[in-house]
Symmetry: C2
């Protein structure tokens, strides 16, 4: 098998490339063709992961396969979209059947879990890099935007925060701990779960939403700016996992939850009247603050003191040179 | 301005990012949103260009901006699709305002020419690489596929071939010639013209189509395989530009036209009855062969002798190490 046949073998023949609902034509022609039901819009997002910047250059390709798709798919969840498919642009320094097989396995696993079909892509030779473009559908005018937060809304998140950032020393092999502590953290890093069900449950209810990739405070800043409102976060309400507290201690765990990135949990604003029906339906909603007049993000401690940190951004994993 | 503001400044504020027909929500949220008219399908294609593999690492960023979009957009033309928009995933080793400004200028120029809106993307740090995903629309069931060629059809191309491959020694600075020879060849390399009008004129008429990126013979092989037919190419009918003949001589110019890549001219198969009406409408149709029973691609010389070369693929530009 030549180089290109090898790549086609692992991707075009993958279960996730067999087409699904909405995919009229998949891999193999100049373009893929998608069908969109009447009164629906197509949601599109693109994400690039670069070796040594967004993930360690040496890592398990099967885990990378999972993670690379989940990270991109999470943007669909944040809009409340129903997944359709994705394209994969894969740049590889060399063609290794072993690497490709493992990568495709992980990719397939996540594609099945998300309900996404591989519809096309490109494979090129160069420094290891992965660009995914993901497609979903959402009823016209109903997508969850960042810009609709209203004064009086609750600020909420869809789950525990900080696990992925806390896992970084484990991912990089800088620390080793018992498997029962390491396992849940590493799973959050390598296999994020795009919150599709949550996003869809929020349609027509939440006023703004996004997925947390840059850290809670930084991403709340994006909602605040797009909505022209201020967001207030109560530190005591931010959910942190027992595993993260056990691994980092309470103080560092909180820091990871506030400024650590890569969580891919949804953050959203919700009129208080919506809270009880969502909770009754079993939707995971953790209230962590509220929307106010003004601008920017404020962090309050348990006594209501403003303890907003200076540091606002989050540097995703970057290999030390 | 910080690094990310700089990038947003050049792309989100670009004229091509101001939204167009079919773009319900552009840059700035988790996803872009596209509207699709009833009874239309969305055509999607992804292409990656890597520095040192698909273009010289040191080159005019404005020309690269043009070329990177045109190469991807050509896949829409090959399906007969009407352009809507594109996403840009740009990986840069460093942020240079001068580079970004020039790149965005070239990108904008080509986006305007193609009628494509920038709807989203991602900017990351790493070795220079560009992934474009392009979107168009086409009436349901009407897209030009590779798989419909019929015995008796004419094999046609939409213009002169070999110019881009012939330009490579000029692109790489290995040769220098007078401007009147170099100009047209360099223009073909740096600013390919996706044949949208041709693709749309072929809807309902051509039985198969693609854009020539790997070379005429290799790409005819793709049509032959997808259609389960044989394709015959008559060397004497392959159109070659005077500029290319003047630069390379007749023999090498023919070689470039047959096996050189990067032309982004359409190749298509056409029932003979369609030929006169297309020509009467001013559509560029050059008959270069025909479709037969069988498989594979045969090349015939002026005497009808089979002179099919062994070499089948085309290595896109690759920098010598």
């Amino acid at each position: 098998m030549g180089e290109f046949e090898l790549i086609r073998h692992y991707f075009a023949a993958a279960p996730c490339a067999q087409g699904g609902e909405g995919v009229a034509l998949g891999i193999g022609d100049d373009c893929a063709l998608l069908d969109l039901p009447a009164a629906q819009q197509l949601a599109v997002s693109t994400d690039t992961l670069v070796a040594g910047v967004h993930f360690p250059a040496v890592c398990d390709p099967s885990l990378l396969g999972q993670r690379s798709l989940a990270v991109a798919a999470s943007d669909l969840a944040a809009m409340g979209a129903t997944p359709i498919g994705f394209t994969l642009a894969l740049t590889l320094p060399e063609v290794s059947a072993q690497w490709l097989q493992a990568y495709a396995e992980g990719l397939n696993r996540m594609a099945r879990r998300c309900g996404l079909s591989l519809i096309g892509g490109d494979t090129t030779r160069g420094p290891l890099s992965i660009t995914m473009t993901v497609f979903g559908r959402v009823a016209r005018g109903q997508a969850l935007l960042r810009s609709g937060a209203q004064v009086g809304d609750l600020l909420c998140v869809g789950g525990e925060l900080g696990n992925a950032a806390g896992a970084l020393p484990l991912v990089l092999g800088e620390r080793q701990v018992e498997a029962d502590l390491a396992g849940p953290l590493l799973a959050h890093y390598w296999s994020p779960s795009p919150q599709f069900a949550l996003g869809q449950a929020l349609l027509g209810k939440a006023t703004a939403a996004l997925d947390i990739s840059d850290g809670l405070l930084a991403d709340c800043g994006h909602i605040a700016k797009a909505s022209r409102r201020a967001l207030e976060v109560n530190l005591a309400q931010v959910p942190v996992s027992p595993a993260l507290q056990g691994f980092l201690g309470s103080e560092a765990a909180r820091q990871a939850a506030l400024i650590g990135g890569d969580d891919y949990v949804l953050a959203f604003t919700l009129p208080p009247a919506q809270l009880s029906s969502l909770r009754a339906a079993g939707v995971p909603v953790h209230v962590v603050g509220r929307v106010l007049d003004g601008e920017g993000v404020r962090l309050l401690d348990e006594q209501g003191q403003d303890i907003t940190p200076q540091q606002r951004g989050y540097q995703h994993f970057r290999e030390t040179p």
